[in-house]
């Protein structure tokens, strides 16, 4: 029974020096507990903003002819909160952005209340918006198929839809201040 934690672990283990923007709540805490990296931005507080932050960074890197990649670890509840962002990503068409959507059909950080992701197919929605690079991994029983290196060199934007079971791990609180998270992340970008 694979959960978000297992998927995040595979994502970060198969990530090289790509920038990661990680989603509010347990996803960031789980990521921090698995492997703290200076080029991870742990978002806290603004649900639904992980993908927009990733999009802004992707566009800035493109403007500055910087060919590094951006991976957003987003969630189904967060995506549903700001659904228009998928349309903006498609319309802006960044080639360097990978949205790794971990879909556990639940608001995980608040007690695993069911989301409407259980009733719809988010991959099909991404396809119908027009995304060319849409991938689905059923990781409910195994996360072995998750390898971010399969996606980082695609001409994005990539929508990687990973289905897991709901539930949180015993993740630590992130003992970094927001300014520290931002400043060390920016240092990685600009040095």
């Amino acid at each position: 029974m694979m959960k978000r934690y297992d998927a995040i672990k595979r994502i970060v283990e198969s990530t090289d020096d790509e920038f990661i923007i990680s989603n509010i709540g347990f996803p960031s805490r789980e990521l921090f507990g698995i492997k703290d990296r200076k080029n991870t931005f742990y978002m806290s507080g603004s649900m639904g903003m992980a993908t927009p932050i990733g999009l802004g960074l992707s566009l800035a890197l493109e403007q500055n002819q910087d060919d590094r990649k951006v991976i957003v670890i987003d969630g189904d509840g967060s995506l549903l909160m700001n659904f228009g962002e998928l349309v903006t990503v498609y319309a802006q068409n960044p080639s360097n952005l990978i949205i790794a959507l971990i879909d556990n059909e639940a608001y995980g950080s608040t007690g695993s209340q069911e989301t409407y992701a259980s009733r719809i197919n988010l991959s099909n929605i991404a396809k119908s918006i027009g995304f060319n690079e849409v991938y689905y991994i059923d990781a409910k029983n195994s996360v072995d198929d998750i390898d971010m290196q399969d996606y980082v060199n695609k001409k994005g934007p990539v929508f990687l839809h990973i289905k897991v079971n709901p539930g949180n791990s015993d993740a630590p609180i992130i003992d970094l201040t927001p300014s520290k998270i931002k400043n060390r992340f920016m240092k990685q970008i600009h040095e």
Partner: protein, 172 residues
């Protein structure tokens, strides 16, 4: 030169090179000027809240961000302003068309019009009402500079009459 040109000049002088927007009738000309400017990356967004998130990412990537919006969009953006911009200290210049002020013809604009400065005060965001187009160029540049060094959002409010005034109008 009109009341829009001076805002555009201020943005250019400030070095703003990344702009997100949700349109307002009073921002129409400014949006066209920005679209025609190859040195400014313009990203129309579906909702102002999303725009603040995009600008935070762009700032980390080295861009100088601004948002063009109507004051109604402030209501859509309260949490992101508090929990992203203020929490992480992200600067952004907010160019806000303040609808629902004297001269408004749409009653739907009035409730958010009255709430606008109170919402900004609640969020502890510095704002300035720009009345005189003769001052706008300088104020826009100074507002970005203050945003940058304070690492906080700063809002400039342009009411309905602002857009009707002309530059060098002695009656102001």
């Amino acid at each position: 030169m009109d009341s829009t040109d001076v805002i555009y000049n201020g943005l250019k002088n400030a070095g703003i090179n990344f702009i997100v927007s949700v349109p307002c009738a009073n921002l129409k000309k400014l949006l066209n000027l920005i679209d025609d400017d190859d040195d400014i990356k313009h990203v129309p967004v579906t909702r102002e809240e999303e725009g603040f998130g995009i600008c935070a990412g762009a700032y980390m990537g080295g861009m100088k961000p601004a948002i063009l919006m109507q004051n109604s969009g402030l209501g859509n953006s309260v949490n992101v302003l508090a929990s992203l911009n203020k929490l992480y200290n992200f600067p952004i210049l907010m160019i806000i068309s303040h609808r629902g002020t004297f001269g408004e013809g749409v009653y739907g604009q009035i409730p958010m019009s009255k709430a606008t400065t109170k919402v900004l005060d609640s969020l502890d965001i510095i704002y300035h009402k720009v009345d005189n187009p003769n001052d706008a160029e300088e104020i826009v540049e100074k507002a970005w500079n203050l945003s940058k060094i304070s690492e906080e959002p700063i809002a400039l409010l342009f009411d309905i009459n602002y857009w009707k005034r002309s530059v060098n109008d002695e009656k102001i």
